[in-house]
């Protein structure tokens, strides 16, 4: 899947201080009927964002003008549940490039990386600090430096290191995906089959 390269990002962030945000909330199953990858951002967090009559629910952070930015901050165990990559597509399509949490579900984490979204894992304490920072100043800036694997709260300069698989880091910084790599391995795969 093609996506824009990721080097560094400085942005405000949108807080979702809820735990175990599952992929059915990120994109409900009834919106998985498309056969192309487009428009999923419209239905990101659909049932938390809109009521039955499709009116925006005022207190949901994505509907609050005071919150904006390319960074989504969620409670622990973000992305649990189904393997639907549509969850990553919806997050990317909406405009997020980074999701921060203290803990990600495995399949979601893989899907995010395969779609140019950087999952940043920070400690539970640092996560609380990020929520508090946004709470105190909705326009607080955060810097995500993939090269140095650092997430910084700009106002205070406090930062947290995060880990990422070196191969995946290479892919993100170059906008590459695994599929071309695997196709290029055709002979090795054929040799393995014997």
């Amino acid at each position: 899947m093609s996506y824009d390269k990721f080097i560094t990002l400085t942005s405000t962030a949108v807080p979702l201080p809820i735990e175990n945000i599952d992929t059915d909330q990120i994109i409900p199953a009834r919106f998985l009927k498309a056969v192309e990858r487009k428009g999923f951002g419209d239905n990101l967090f659909r049932d938390w964002r809109y009521d039955k009559s499709n009116q925006p629910i005022a207190d949901f952070p994505l509907n609050q003008a005071k919150y904006s930015g390319k960074i989504l901050v969620g409670g622990k165990n973000f992305g649990s549940g189904s393997s639907r990559e549509h969850a990553a597509w919806a997050i990317y399509d909406y405009g997020f490039r980074v999701v921060v949490s203290s803990f990600f579900a495995d399949i979601f984490q893989g899907n995010a990386l395969n779609n140019g979204i950087l999952p940043v894992v920070v400690s539970p304490e640092f996560l609380e600090k990020i929520f508090a920072t946004i709470d105190a100043d909705n326009n607080a800036q955060f810097e995500v430096d993939l090269q140095n694997q650092k997430f910084t709260i700009k106002a205070t300069g406090e930062s947290a290191d995060f880990t990422i698989n070196p191969y995946k880091k290479h892919c993100l910084t170059h906008g590459l995906d695994d599929i071309d790599y695997l196709i290029s391995m055709k002979e090795e795969i054929a040799a393995f089959e014997k």
Binding site: E36, D47, R84, N114, K168
Partner: protein
């Protein structure tokens, strides 16, 4: 020689290459696809001008999005129909076997694989569906993947995966009356939470596990993902071999003998090391039911909803949000709460033993008037067996109607949606907000507990009747 776990043995024998500083390139033996998570993968493949490398190793069936009545008619919902037709077309274009609606091989993808003997011990199996963990029951490494990975498997028969950590969960002893594999799973998840297994692949062992039937093992492994684990597996034994024997795609003749010899070697060596080990006693497990909005929020059916004492911060607000959604309060008893719907089916509990258990329970009783029940077989073969064994007559006499195979109300992509605010006792795998329809409230339970609720119209301890 180094002592290896069952997982290591299978994983290591499938690594094509270790990428420096990266994940392993893992060879995939069997790939299942369905209509929802495959179309974008085929589109990607075509954009690259790539072909399906090993079409004979992929098997397709539409399940997530199909109606469970009148399957002989064209699917009414245009988007659903389009998705199903797209799968059929993609399979035809790429030479992939397709089990269409109404055909003998149709069903929920995780039901038909084992049924046909496609799923075998020692294999690596993937599908763009998290409940692929089901196939681990055979002593296979089976896990769910995203659509990018579906494309990888189509293009190269491989995916790139970091090797997970290993967890051993041992359940010793004998299960009490009325306690099923579903209850074991919900019990474990209630103990370790929906993130307790994250980063791990689970091996289940112990006398309570080895005494389970193959179908019960599938239910247990199916729910591994609900603990956050990539998958769960059980070492193959006589039960496994007996189940696979004679199935359509099982090895035959000399190949069979060779396969069995290999399968018997697939067990964790003495002294092999796991990253995490947990031990439970089967006697502590009672029929389970969930009261909240994730599968970790489960309790014994006779118990009361836990209080939020000791929770703080996001933990507390998340807990309160879940109970508010469910319309429940802390400390309330589950038994006696009114329900509106019962769903029996899904890749978790949609096999013949599940319908036998449900039918045996409701035999000679009547469905409560306040309950709408959807009884959905996991496959055509399961439906056929239900009819052959005379279970339909028992179900109908008790006021239950049998529908046609599909994922149905488990994720409510088709018309089988639980209305807003209604309570559904469901044998499926997820009780997330809106999972069974916008605003629906799901209570996960075994087919037995579902049967008891269906008959009484309220949450009921099935042991009252046993």
């Amino acid at each position: 020689m180094e002592a290896k776990t069952l997982f290591d043995k299978i994983w290591d024998s499938h690594v094509v290459k270790e990428v420096e500083g990266g994940p392993s390139v893992l060879y995939i033996d069997r790939h299942f696809i369905h209509e929802v998570t495959s179309p974008v993968a085929f589109l990607g493949l075509e954009k690259r001008g790539a072909k399906v490398l090993r079409p004979e190793k992929t098997v397709a069936t539409p399940d997530h999005n199909v109606p469970t009545i009148n399957q002989h008619l064209s699917i009414k919902d245009e988007l659903s129909r389009n998705q199903v037709e797209m799968l059929k077309k993609n399979c035809a274009n790429h030479g992939i076997v397709y089990h269409g609606l109404g055909t003998e091989g149709h069903g929920v993808v995780h039901i038909i694989g084992p049924e046909m003997g496609i799923t075998q011990p020692g294999m690596t199996i993937v599908c763009g569906d998290s409940h692929t963990s089901t196939h681990g029951a055979f002593g296979a490494i089976a896990f769910g993947i995203g659509t990018s990975e579906v494309e990888m498997v189509l293009a190269s028969q491989c995916i790139m995966q970091p090797k997970p950590k290993k967890m051993l969960i041992t359940v010793n002893g004998q299960l009490s009356k009325g306690v099923t594999a579903k209850d074991i799973a919900l019990y474990i998840i209630s103990k370790i939470s929906t993130s307790g297994g994250t980063g791990h692949f689970i091996e289940y062992a112990g006398s309570a596990i080895t005494s389970l039937s193959m179908e019960a093992r599938m239910t247990l492994c199916n729910l591994s993902i609900e603990s956050g684990a990539r998958g769960g597996m059980i070492a193959p034994d006589e039960t496994t071999i007996e189940y696979v024997k004679g199935r359509q795609f099982a090895p035959k003749g000399q190949d069979w003998d060779k396969a069995v010899a290999y399968w018997k070697s697939l067990k964790t060596d003495e002294g092999a090391v796991f990253d995490t080990e947990l031990v439970y006693d089967a006697a502590d497990i009672e029929p389970m039911i969930t009261y909240g909005t994730n599968p970790g929020m489960g309790i014994g059916v006779s118990q009361s909803i836990p209080t939020s004492d000791g929770l703080a911060g996001t933990d507390k607000t998340t807990y309160e949000k879940a109970l508010k959604y469910m319309g429940y309060s802390e400390g309330e008893k589950m038994v006696g709460k009114q329900i509106d719907y019962v769903f029996v089916g899904s890749c978790t509990n949609g096999r013949i033993e599940d319908f036998r258990a449900f039918a045996a329970f409701v035999k000679g009783k009547k469905k409560a008037d306040n309950v709408t029940a959807w009884i959905v077989p996991g496959s055509q073969a399961v439906e056929k067996q239900i009819r052959a064994e005379g279970l339909v007559e028992i179900l109908e006499a008790a006021g239950f109607e049998l529908r046609q195979p599909g994922c149905s109300a488990c994720l409510a992509m088709n018309d089988d949606k639980i209305p807003e605010g209604k309570y559904s006792v469901s044998t499926s795998n997820r009780n997330f907000e809106g999972r069974q329809g916008p605003g629906a409230r799901t209570l996960l339970a075994s087919p037995l507990t579902a049967a008891a609720a269906a008959v009484k119209g309220v949450i009921t301890d099935p042991r009252e009747f046993l």
